[in-house]
């Protein structure tokens, strides 16, 4: 199972923080799996990332993605378990690991009073390269990430998307084997996001392994060769986006029952759920917020039957929609929650707080 060309391998990685450190908005609800006043942020994560793939960590804020990433990049001490990156043990050979990885945090951290090019040259020199070695390398990066237009302007003048591309260039200047990207597109407008996706795909074509975290479904789906879905510090699903979605066979149907009458919606969903669950063609069903979400093998034949059934019982339907399963359906199936409201649901773990400002953007 441990293939030779795995560039990242971890076994049973764990990390917890003292409970008092879990402060601020996300930390509120006391944390899961806390023992002795500690909050477990990462609870037994085992990963194998193959050379040259784009590997993603998908999960809501506070799921432990950033904490895992920070352990793999030598920024946080590993509490228990082992991690090997680019052939070196992260805990025992942090220096060797550092020279072989690039890391782009959510914050970026380019010097605003310096130009993009100056930032790149300093970064390269900190990795031991000489100015002469760096000049062509920096120029190539400037072209690769479309920075040419503003590379010699001060970073303070950059737009969000431009700055993000510079941040990525900073992570690449020493030609690392693996590039770690923590929430690379958070806070970017859709156009800049799509543009950045193109650039990340370009990196894979050049043979760089990319390890990224995201809480955007589309990003994980479009960008990653393989991904892990993480929740409450644990891996809940793993595979290619396609394989993951195939786990949720059939079509997803969402019936919205919220009514004009006060409170009727909830009662509608309450009434509809057991009714629909009894139908033979309904494979799985969840109900909340006046919405019933269910999975069927064939949406085309199930839809009219569903409508007729609800109509005959006098349960008013507000809207009904059908879709192919998404990664959100995978997440929902594994955790019982939707990732789409993950931004507000992040408070449930309170794990990624303390040492890391996870919500930076917007």
């Amino acid at each position: 199972m441990r293939a030779v060309d795995n560039i990242i391998t971890t076994q049973d990685l764990r990390k917890s923080f003292p409970a008092k450190k879990a402060r601020g908005g996300k930390g509120g609800a006391g944390g899961k799996g806390g023992d002795g006043g500690r909050i477990s942020a990462v609870r037994g994560v085992s990963i194998d990332v193959a050379r040259g793939e784009v590997f993603g960590f998908l999960g809501p804020n506070g799921a432990g993605k950033t904490t895992t990433l920070r352990m793999l990049t030598t920024l946080l001490p590993i509490e228990s378990g082992t991690a090997t990156v680019a052939g070196f043990d992260v805990a025992r050979q942090p220096r060797q690991v550092r020279t072989r990885i690039g890391y782009v945090s959510q914050l970026g951290g380019a010097d605003e009073l310096a130009t993009g090019r100056e930032n790149l040259i300093l970064q390269g020199r900190l990795y031991g390269a000489s100015r002469a070695q760096l000049a062509p390398r920096v120029q190539a990066l400037v072209e690769l990430l479309d920075l040419a237009e503003f590379a010699d302007r001060r970073v303070a003048t950059y737009s969000g998307g431009q700055r993000r591309r510079l941040d990525i260039a900073l992570g690449l200047v020493h030609e690392p084997r693996v590039l770690f990207l923590d929430e690379p597109t958070t806070g970017l407008d859709p156009q800049s996001r799509a543009n950045l996706w193109d650039h990340i795909r370009g990196l894979r074509e050049r043979g760089t392994t990319v390890f990224l975290t995201t809480h955007y479904l589309e990003e994980a789906d479009v960008l990653c060769d393989r991904l892990m879905i993480m929740d409450h510090g644990q891996i809940v699903a793993e595979g290619t986006p396609r394989a993951l979605k195939q786990q949720v066979a059939g079509d997803a149907i969402v019936i919205s029952l919220r009514n004009e009458d006060r409170g009727a919606g909830d009662r509608g969903a309450e009434r509809a759920a057991p009714l629909l669950r009894g139908e033979p063609y309904v494979r799985e069903l969840t109900a909340d917020n006046g919405q019933v979400r269910l999975y069927v093998d064939d949406g085309g034949t199930a839809l009219p039957q569903l409508i007729r059934l609800l109509d005959s019982r006098g349960i008013p339907i507000r809207s009904i929609s059908m879709s192919e399963p998404t990664l959100d359906d995978v997440f929902l199936r594994q955790t019982g929650r939707s990732l789409r409201d993950g931004d507000t649901g992040g408070g449930e773990t309170g794990s990624d707080t303390g040492s890391e400002p996870e919500e930076v953007a917007a």
């Binding site: 030598t74 920024l75 550092r98 020279t99 951290g109 009073l113």
Partner: protein
């Protein structure tokens, strides 16, 4: 030497940041001048020295300004640390193989360089109003100023890394400022104070610098105050630097 190269790179980086910040430059240059211009006339009367010439007053007062500058330059560095922490700069450096000591000392050395520039301006302006310049004494004083500034700066950076937010850090700095400055005799000689004050002053590192600075600026090298200052500041500086590097190494940032 790898650490030396890293220190050089991060020194250069920080110096460039300072020089490109016009507000910082203006305030940096004007503050010591303002001290001289605004305090000297007051002091001329306060010390009861009705008969003192402005040269004598500036001889008494200018070494204190230099000490004050060393303290202020050092203590301010933590604010920058918090800014860089929030902006992700420190994390960006920490994932590189750059020496941890260099990440800490690069900015300290750049700040020191700027401090000496300001010191030179103060001495030049002081010379204009009658300050007597003793080069040997000033050279030894420069070493002591550098020691104190490094100590205070390392303390400030480590405190910033521990508190991590600007309001907590600012509270600590403001809380320290007044007692440290008063109990050092920077503006008024501590000998004017009661006994208990003079006793407490001996626990204040800045006190030793101020005492030594008056003697050294007067051209005396072999004085008790000078030896005492070295005896206190050399080990203290080493101790605080070691502690601050430890704080940096522990992955708390």
């Amino acid at each position: 030497m790898k650490p030396a190269r890293d220190i050089g790179l991060l020194f250069q980086r920080y110096a460039i940041q300072l020089l490109r910040n016009p507000v910082w430059l203006i305030v940096g240059f004007s503050t010591p001048i303002l001290y001289l211009v605004l305090f000297m006339p007051l002091l001329k009367h306060a010390v009861g020295g009705v008969g003192l010439s402005s040269g004598q007053v500036v001889n008494l007062f200018l070494p204190g300004i230099l000490s004050l500058l060393a303290f202020a330059s050092g203590i301010g560095l933590g604010f920058n640390t918090i800014f860089e922490l929030k902006a992700g700069v420190i994390e960006r450096f920490r994932v590189t193989p750059a020496s941890r000591l260099a990440i800490l000392t690069g900015p300290i050395l750049a700040t020191m360089m700027m401090m000496f520039v300001f010191d030179a301006v103060v001495v030049a302006v002081g010379f204009g109003v009658g300050f007597s310049v003793y080069w040997a004494g000033l050279a030894v004083l420069a070493v002591l100023l550098a020691l104190l500034m490094t100590t205070v700066a390392a303390f400030s950076v480590a405190t910033a890394l521990i508190t991590k937010d600007i309001s907590g850090f600012a509270a600590i700095v403001n809380g320290l400022n007044l007692p440290v400055l008063l109990l050092a005799g920077v503006l008024l000689p501590i000998s004017l104070g009661p006994t208990w004050m003079r006793v407490i002053a001996h626990f204040n590192p800045l006190y030793y610098l101020v005492e030594a600075s008056r003697v050294l600026a007067g051209g005396t090298l072999a004085a008790t105050a000078v030896w005492q200052a070295f005896a206190v500041l050399v080990p203290l500086c080493a101790l605080v630097l070691a502690w601050a590097t430890g704080v940096f190494r522990r992955a708390v940032a």
